[in-house]
């Protein structure tokens, strides 16, 4: 009896601890689409592809833009385009399915609810990613949302967009090098030795930092922090304690191995040059 009188505002979605992982490629793609948007278009939207991990995390892996038109509360989405692109993408990578959609701009607006409804028909519980390419607050705001339907009985009242935690994964971008991706123009891709040098320099800088910190603490300039101390001691402890003679032997053995390989490949190269000369010079008259 009591239950029938109570009107329940239901949250229809169950997953509460949803989060999203977004790789740098998707952000790049969105920015590129935004730069190439048609005249007068205020924002670009597109489909996010990826998969849902067993723990409920949405792993976004790819994206493509979908042309659309927005005017006075009406949204026209090129659904045919969306489907063609989806089929094309799945030919390459069948494991990537629709997980949601993205839009540029800050936050959610009226049109978003309509588009979200469309994507809800494509996949259950899609996520919505917004990238504020306009730097509206002078900040770069990237947010992910899921939508909850507020329903009164069977009657849909509204959709509520709830923000979910977002994890920007930068490993791929890291592989290319942030310095390369950050600049508008880089003359050449750094080669192996240059990146190695940069890494070594960073390592040395870190060691210098640690020295400085330890010296400061010892001399009483800085407040000691037990956690930092423990981490430093772990780092030092991870170096194997070896007697000098054993270490030298190890080092020299490896050095010799590498020198041997070096020698071998150099000798192969000179043989190649020689063989080539003999081969093309050889002719029977």
């Amino acid at each position: 009896m009591a239950s029938s009188e109570r009107t329940v505002l239901q949250l229809s979605s169950s997953s509460q601890n949803l989060s999203a992982k977004v790789p740098a490629l998707v952000i790049f793609n969105i920015c590129d689409c935004y730069v190439r948007r048609p005249d007068q278009a205020e924002r670009v939207i597109g489909t996010l592809l990826g998969c849902v991990l067993p723990d409920g995390t949405v792993d976004v892996r790819n994206s493509y833009a979908v042309p659309h038109n927005e005017s006075l509360g009406q949204v026209a989405l090129d659904i045919e385009y969306h489907h063609t692109m989806l089929i094309s993408h799945q030919k390459v990578n069948p494991k990537e399915v629709i997980v949601g959609w993205y839009s540029t701009g800050l936050g959610v607006n009226g049109g978003s609810a309509l588009i979200h409804e469309f994507y809800s028909r494509e996949v259950s519980n899609p996520i919505h990613l917004t990238v504020d390419t306009g730097f509206t607050n002078g900040e770069l705001t990237i947010k992910a949302y899921v939508s909850h339907n507020l329903s009164l009985g069977d009657w849909q009242m509204a959709a509520q967009f709830q923000e979910i935690p977002l994890d920007l994964r930068m490993e791929e971008a890291d592989g290319v090098g942030f310095d390369t991706l950050k600049a508008t123009a880089v003359d050449k891709i750094p080669n192996e030795l240059e990146v190695m040098e940069a890494s070594m320099e960073r390592l040395l800088a870190l060691i210098d930092d640690i020295y400085k910190y330890v010296d400061d603490v010892v001399e009483g300039h800085a407040l000691p922090d037990n956690n930092v101390g423990r981490l430093i001691s772990d780092a030092v402890g991870s170096l194997p304690k070896l007697p000098a003679s054993v270490f030298d032997k190890l080092l020299n053995d490896s050095l010799q191995d590498y020198l041997l390989l070096f020698y071998l490949s150099s000798i192969t190269r000179s043989q190649l040059i020689l063989a080539e000369k003999l081969n093309t010079a050889a002719q029977i008259l």
Partner: protein
């Protein structure tokens, strides 16, 4: 009217002919990331895709790309692939992506990309687009924290020889072409839109050390070296096979020449006797005789490609061992500290 049109087309063609040679590939960050994603996702399967962009003077801009599905040896599916390509191009044009093919990319395993197929694909592309490039990405080397991205094209002189099927010793000597001259590597520039540059500056994590640094400073590189050496040895075997082919050819050739000489001497002696007897001399050549049939010279292409691969492996071994030496000395310095 039609005449002037034709003329102007001709003029256009003529001016294009004089275009400056390709000096630099300018890639957008988004294209690089897309290539890396596609190649890594499917590694160790080798994959390819199409590069889109613009041809501006001596710079070839690569602004976007799209992957090809993994190909299967089936005609129906092949037609499907062509459809896929057209569809994709059409779709990308709709969102204002540069809709101009400038080449293709492919992944490789430790740089074993110098194959006849690569050359053939190149020739196919070259037929349709005058200036094209192949971007090679090696996902196996990214474990070392290295971005192994290369832009290649075939050299003009090699292309000419290949088109005329003329890869024989004589022609190569004439053109002074050696195995180093098959491929030309073109320097890659990276460019990003101002928006991406701003976004990246905001997003750059503040950690002083990245995963890449760990990868680069890892001491062990033996598995990489091992595989490199394995490939090198395989190539060496192939090369010696090729050499045997040539030896066989030369042996046959010299045998044939000796036979020809013997035949000629016999014929001359016969002619002398005929002359003495007052008869007409017999001709000094007999095309019907099998010993005058030229023996086909084996193509040098295979041995050239193998040589190229070996040189590539040698370079990689040199590079990795050089880096490892650096790391060992760094280790030594740390231990002494």
């Amino acid at each position: 009217m039609a005449n002037t049109m034709a003329k102007s087309f001709l003029q256009v063609a003529a001016t294009e002919e004089a275009a400056p040679p390709l000096r630099v590939i300018q890639m957008e960050g988004v294209a690089i990331l897309k290539i890396i994603k596609h190649c890594k996702d499917h590694s160790p399967t080798l994959v390819t895709g199409q590069l889109l962009g613009l041809d501006v003077g001596s710079v070839l801009e690569v602004t976007n790309c799209f992957p090809f599905p993994i190909r299967e040896e089936d005609e129906e599916i092949e037609a499907d692939g062509a459809n896929y390509q057209l569809e994709m191009m059409r779709c990308l044009r709709e969102v204002n992506v540069d809709n101009n093919t400038v080449g293709w990319y492919q992944s490789t395993l430790l740089g074993s990309f110098q194959t006849v197929e690569l050359i053939e694909t190149f020739m196919n592309y070259q037929e349709n687009i005058r200036r094209c490039v192949c971007i090679i990405y090696d996902p196996s080397r990214s474990d070392q924290g290295v971005l192994a991205l290369k832009a290649l094209k075939l050299s003009d002189s090699f292309m000419e020889l290949y088109r005329n099927n003329n890869i024989t010793g004589e022609k190569l000597r004439e053109k002074n072409l050696s195995w180093v001259d098959i491929f030309e590597e073109i320097p890659i520039k990276v460019s990003n839109s101002a928006l991406i540059s701003a976004v990246m500056t905001k997003l750059k994590p503040n950690t002083p050390v990245t995963q890449c640094d760990y990868d680069r400073l890892r001491l062990s590189s033996s598995s990489l070296m091992e595989r490199n050496m394995e490939f090198l040895i395989e190539c060496m075997d192939d090369l010696s096979m090729e050499q045997q082919k040539f030896q066989f050819y030369y042996r046959n050739l010299s045998r044939q020449q000796a036979q020809q000489q013997a035949w000629l001497q016999k014929r001359r002696a016969e002619n002398m006797t005929r002359k003495a007897a007052g008869e007409d001399p017999l001709p000094e050549e007999d095309p019907t005789n099998h010993i005058f049939k030229p023996i086909p010279e084996p193509s040098r292409l295979d041995s050239f490609l193998i040589t190229n691969q070996i040189a590539n492996y040698c370079n990689q071994i040199n590079g990795v061992s050089g880096q490892s030496l650096n790391k060992l000395y760094l280790m030594k310095a740390l231990q002494e500290d």
